[in-house]
């Protein structure tokens, strides 16, 4: 199976823009005895927005968790800026500049909004002025977080929690943010706000690996798309060459 995935990749001349920031190379993961990823390979260039599409339960979230070190692949390699990070604990990865926004948001419910931000912000080597600057920046992007800065995270609405989860990852001054279904269950107005923030990240040269069910948004926001099926990357293409009703989309996402 992994051979099919690898063949599809090597058969495709299109590559990440510029230098490669993140390279996932044939990773396999297991949850207990069930084999989840069967050799996933993908690349994200510096500052590039890349989409990862596929049906539920094919291993999209697990791919992100393997990159961020929450699950450790039993085979294969993850490289960040050229160095292997496969076996590093996740707190080291966060320090290297990998931000993670999980599917269920997982904000700290009993910490206030500001404390949620401070979890990632209070680290060595960041000056007080820089900290204030970073917090002010996310407050400009998400004014509602400024209003609720002293409210505990658990009292926020779903959309506000999603913004907090993204803002919290931005505190790490990441080189890449892994976004796992950021628009899931959100109102249309919130969805367009998430769409805007992906553009903001792109303008700031932060790479994004976006896992989504929302096909139009993914095609619009990303430069390239990977299609994943049964734990393997089956296909990949430039987003500009895909239509929402493309047969490829039907093949990997249709019911």
């Amino acid at each position: 199976m992994s051979e099919v995935g690898a063949a599809a990749l090597s058969g495709n001349p299109r590559e990440a823009t510029g230098t490669v920031l993140l390279a996932v190379d044939g990773i396999h993961t297991y949850y207990g005895k069930s084999h989840i990823l069967h050799g996933v390979s993908l690349e994200v260039g510096r500052g590039e927005v890349v989409g990862l599409l596929g049906r539920n339960g094919v291993g999209k979230s697990t791919t992100l968790k393997a990159i961020v070190g929450i699950v450790h692949p039993s085979r294969g390699d993850v490289r960040f800026e050229g160095d292997s990070i496969t076996q590093l604990p996740s707190h080291r990865l966060a320090r290297l500049g990998i931000g993670y926004v999980p599917e269920d948001r997982r904000i700290f419910p009993l910490l206030t909004v500001l404390e949620n931000l401070r979890v990632g912000l209070d680290r060595q080597g960041v000056t007080k002025a820089r900290k204030a600057e970073l917090v002010d920046k996310v407050y400009t992007y998400f004014p509602v977080l400024a209003e609720r800065r002293n409210q505990s995270g658990g009292t926020l609405s779903g959309g506000e929690q999603q913004m907090l989860a993204i803002a919290r990852a931005m505190m790490l001054e990441p080189k890449i943010i892994l976004l796992d279904e950021p628009t899931e269950g959100l109102m249309p107005r919130m969805v367009s706000q998430i769409r805007e923030i992906i553009d903001v990240l792109h303008r700031e040269a932060v790479a994004v690996l976006l896992v989504e069910q929302n096909v139009p948004l993914t095609l619009e926001a990303s430069r390239r798309i990977y299609f994943i099926e049964k734990g393997v990357v089956r296909h990949h293409a430039l987003a500009s060459e895909l239509q929402v009703d493309d047969p490829v989309i039907h093949q990997y996402l249709g019911v």
Binding site: S90, Y100, P102, F108, L111, E115, V119, L172
Partner: protein, 290 residues
């Protein structure tokens, strides 16, 4: 035949004094449980060893406060070492394995103390000798000082948890260990740090309690049992809950001993424990869970 008011007042003060020491023991226990789901059966032995380090340092330096601080620091280091060597490899396993491991450590430490120091109780002299008149009693100032000092340690710790970077890391790790680590919190060090802080607090209470009841190898047993009751009644993992429960239970015991002997008064704590487990197993002093 009512109980005279003066006796009620005396028992109130007694209850608060023991309650504060108990709160100091229990807050370390509840903190460790909250952050790593480990029920630390060796906590009472850290309390006991802290008292012994206090006895030894006091013999050498003659200064109670140096003894208090050095016992806290030394036992904090011991706690971190115990965590790194025995508990860290077991994190994420069945809770039974950590219960057995800490129970084993408690037996080892208790018998080490018996072998090293013998069964005879040692004394720690009260560092504050004065008394004041409480109705017909000469009430030692030291007891009041202990209550205030315990309150200061718990208060300082609360401020540290509330405002410090490490405090935020500890709270974030307690709420979601995986996500805290993904946000760059060095979780293995935070867990070791929490174990060290909890152990240091147990040692401090051991030294503070020393002048009341003497220091012997089994002194931890009585306290750990009551601390467990406090942690369950206060709500596992809740610092404020433990403080409230420690005062509540100590006051109940103090009042009960107006009628019955102090050893029978302990029954009250168990009644509170059983009633809590039956009707509100998440704890009396925590917000209703959703």
């Amino acid at each position: 035949m009512g109980i005279p008011l003066d006796q009620i007042l005396i028992q109130t003060i007694n209850g608060i004094v023991t309650g504060m020491i108990l709160a100091l023991v229990a807050s370390g226990l509840t903190l460790i449980f909250g952050i790593m789901d480990v029920v630390n059966f060796a906590h009472g032995e850290l309390f006991m060893l802290g008292a012994y380090v206090g006895v030894l340092t006091l013999a050498v330096t003659g200064d109670f406060w140096i003894a208090l601080i050095s016992a806290s620091l030394l036992i904090a280091l011991l706690g971190a070492a115990i965590y790194l060597v025995t508990l860290r490899p077991l994190i994420g396993r069945d809770p039974l394995t950590t219960i057995l491991a800490t129970f084993g450590i408690s037996l080892v430490l208790q018998n080490y103390a018996l072998w090293q120091f013998g069964p005879v109780s040692r004394k720690i002299a009260e560092p504050i000798a004065g008394h004041f008149n409480l109705f017909y009693l000469d009430y030692p100032w030291y007891r009041v000082a202990v209550a205030l000092l315990s309150a200061a340690i718990i208060g300082g710790f609360w401020l540290f948890l509330k405002f410090g970077t490490w405090g935020i890391w500890i709270r974030a790790t307690t709420q979601d260990r995986v996500m805290a680590q993904a946000m760059g919190v060095p979780v293995p060090w935070v867990l070791a740090g929490v174990f060290a802080i909890g152990s240091g607090m147990a040692a401090a209470s051991g030294v503070l309690f020393g002048p009341f009841g003497g220091v012997d190898p089994t002194m931890g047993l009585n306290w750990i049992l009551r601390a467990f009751i406090v942690v369950v009644v206060g709500g596992m993992g809740s610092l404020g809950g433990s403080l409230a429960a420690a005062i509540f239970i100590s006051l109940l015991e103090a009042y009960a001993s107006l009628w019955v002997s102090p050893s029978q008064a302990v029954i009250v704590s168990f009644v509170v424990l059983i009633v809590t487990l039956l009707f509100r197993p998440t704890g009396l002093f925590v917000a209703t869970p959703k």
